[in-house]
């Protein structure tokens, strides 16, 4: 079963950058796909990759990361400055971020406004043929 864990920006807004990343990674390590409202700052995204690399072992092979961040290209200068100030003060709450475990998500494909999750093939369940053989014995 696949679990999508929604995290609103408010849930991480007051955390220190390190704690934000730890929180997000803790869900991913439980094999959950995190759907975060908004996006992390650029430096935090780099820190997320760095922390992921520090934690990689034979079981945890990393993450797949995708951000959908619609931008209004036609907005006026005033709106752009306003949006920038809101981002600086309150964080970037536009769009959303998907972070999933690499052992479940093969790839996240992205166009500017569309996102596709390619999942890894699941192991097929054991065939009935094998169990029949066992019962004959």
């Amino acid at each position: 079963m696949l679990t999508l864990q929604f995290i609103s920006y408010n849930q991480i807004a007051n955390l220190e950058p390190d704690d934000r990343i730890k929180k997000l990674l803790s869900f991913v390590k439980q094999d959950k796909i995190v759907l975060l409202e908004g996006r992390l700052r650029d430096e935090e995204e780099a820190d997320l990759i760095r922390k992921t690399m520090e934690d990689i072992d034979e079981k945890f092979t990393g993450i797949e990361l995708g951000v959908v961040h619609p931008q209004d290209k036609d907005s006026s200068l005033y709106k752009q400055i306003h949006a920038m100030l809101v981002r600086l003060l309150l964080g970037n709450r536009n769009g959303f971020t998907i972070i999933g475990p690499a052992n479940i998500i093969q790839e996240i494909k992205k166009d500017p406004d569309k996102i596709q999750l390619l999942m890894k093939d699941q192991q097929p369940p054991p065939t009935k043929k094998t169990s029949k053989k066992k019962s004959k014995k």
Partner: protein, 209 residues
């Protein structure tokens, strides 16, 4: 937040103050297998007559920061001296099982371990670059989040960027897709392997200095 903005301003000020006096540190960044080391070798061959690092088809061949000092390039009366820093490809996943078709389990695990360390180092070195060339495989999807994260981090640090669309010798190469993904930057299409369009690449590099 105010401190971060002030720090960036100070960083930019000192970077511009010393740009003309010290050797520029020119970083090569990008995802694995984009051709960073092939490009580094091409630059070193063109101006020093020697290679910089080993190249292979297996991802994460470069797992340590490599530096070649004192490279001077010249074009149309202009000159630029720099130290070239070739970095390991940045990725969000490293699975030793991906290497098993090329090597034994022990070597694959060791390679994966070194690759994760290399990625951490590459991220740490972002702060130490004066100018960066982002080397992308022009046959691959440019919208990957790793590319966007690298570009965003360089923008946040006010580090000048030249985008290279490598492997244009391949039929599937699509420079326009890279241009539309990163419209804020100049994109130069090259084939580092065959030395295609390197003159334009050097001219653009000199314009940035």
């Amino acid at each position: 937040m105010a401190f971060e903005i002030f720090k960036k301003f100070i960083d930019k000020f000192f970077r511009s103050l010393f740009r003309g006096k010290k050797k520029i540190r020119l970083g090569l960044y990008g995802p694995p297998n984009g051709g960073k080391t092939t490009l580094a070798n091409r630059i070193c061959q063109d101006w020093l007559g020697e290679d910089m690092g080993k190249v292979s088809n297996v991802a994460h061949e470069t797992r340590e920061i490599q530096i070649k000092e004192e490279i001077t390039i010249k074009s149309k009366g202009k000159e630029l001296s720099f130290n070239l820093v070739d970095t390991p490809g940045i990725a969000t996943r490293v699975d030793y099982e991906d290497f098993l078709k090329y090597m034994g389990e022990k070597d694959a695990k060791s390679r994966a371990k070194e690759a994760t360390k290399g990625i951490i180092d590459a991220i740490k070195w972002l702060d130490d670059m004066d100018t960066v060339i982002i080397c992308l495989d022009a046959t691959k999807d440019p919208y990957s989040q790793v590319n966007i994260t690298i570009v965003g981090n360089l923008q946040a640090r006010n580090i000048p960027v030249l985008l290279v669309a490598n492997k244009i010798d391949l039929k599937r190469a699509d420079i326009k897709k890279i241009e539309s993904a990163f419209p804020q930057y100049k994109v130069v299409g090259i084939s580092a392997k065959y030395g295609t369009n390197m003159d334009e690449f050097y001219e653009e590099l000199l314009k940035m200095a």
